[in-house]
């Protein structure tokens, strides 16, 4: 439901219509898109709730088509590089979680027809835990996990 709405917004901005013109005109932001932040998912204290809020389901099929690149040991939990690739057709989004964080959802990336399901960013991890990646496909959610040992946590102090 939530997702269907978000897709509509995305589609709406693809045409070079009113939105495109407004964007081209300067600092006028596609507010409909940027104001769409899924607060409940980001504030959820467990991954399952976050997934349900964000993607409408928490049923994940483990898949080796989802590749996570992250260090085995992160000395500084404030900056942990993570790369996720989904070797699937029609990936709609990639979401990244750190299972040991108070709020596990870190970021979510929505693809378009011109983007390849490959994203890389740097995350904060409170403690040693799995980094979990979830790729949303037309056939459901595919996921993978990669344990990362964190020497100094990077969320609080």
């Amino acid at each position: 439901m939530i997702d269907a709405k978000r897709r509509t917004l995305l589609k709406g901005s693809l045409g070079a219509g009113a939105v495109g013109v407004a964007v081209g005109a300067g600092l006028l932001t596609p507010r409909a898109v940027l104001a769409n932040w899924p607060e409940a998912a980001f504030k959820a204290e467990d991954q399952s709730t976050a997934l349900n809020d964000l993607l409408g389901s928490d049923t994940i099929e483990d898949s080796d088509k989802v590749k996570i690149k992250a260090p085995d040991i992160a000395e500084n939990g404030a900056v942990v590089p993570v790369t996720v690739e989904g070797e699937v057709d029609g990936a709609k989004s990639i979401s990244i979680f750190a299972a040991g964080n108070n709020t596990p959802l870190i970021a979510s990336f929505e693809m378009s027809e011109n983007s390849v399901p490959f994203v890389s960013t740097r995350i904060k991890m409170a403690k040693t835990a799995d980094v979990v990646a979830v790729v949303q496909t037309p056939d459901g959610l595919l996921g993978a996990a990669k344990p990362v040992k964190v020497t100094i946590g990077g969320c609080g102090g």
């Binding site: 995305l10 964007v23 870190i106 979510s108 390849v116 890389s120 960013t121």
Partner: protein, 103 residues
């Protein structure tokens, strides 16, 4: 347009790799300063990437994205010189926009 967003792109086999660096404190709101006073939350919540006014990637970020968010992603082989536009918005309503030509 803004030095707070840096954009680089590079051709690769059958596509383009894009790297976007957004200078931002990404304060979680959970941290205290040296005097023990809480530091208010200040973080980017959304970043969008458009190529020639078409949305290609929409990122939603939370407080656990590291300071100065770095986003790297891949696009299909869109034309060289296409206008790449990145904009972010944070939890305080501030926003930044930057543009670059696609490699």
């Amino acid at each position: 347009m803004s030095d707070e967003i840096r954009i680089r792109s590079r051709r690769r086999d059958g596509g383009v790799d894009v790297m976007v660096l957004m200078l931002h404190p990404m304060e979680s709101g959970l941290r205290k300063d040296a005097q023990g006073r809480p530091v208010g939350a200040h973080y980017i919540t959304a970043a969008t990437v458009l190529v020639d006014d078409r949305m290609v990637l929409e990122a939603e970020l939370g407080i656990t994205v590291a300071r100065d968010p770095l986003l790297q992603f891949r696009l299909e082989a869109l034309p060289t010189g296409a206008r790449l536009r990145v904009q972010w918005r944070d939890n305080r309503g501030e926003q930044q926009v930057a543009e670059a030509d696609l490699a």
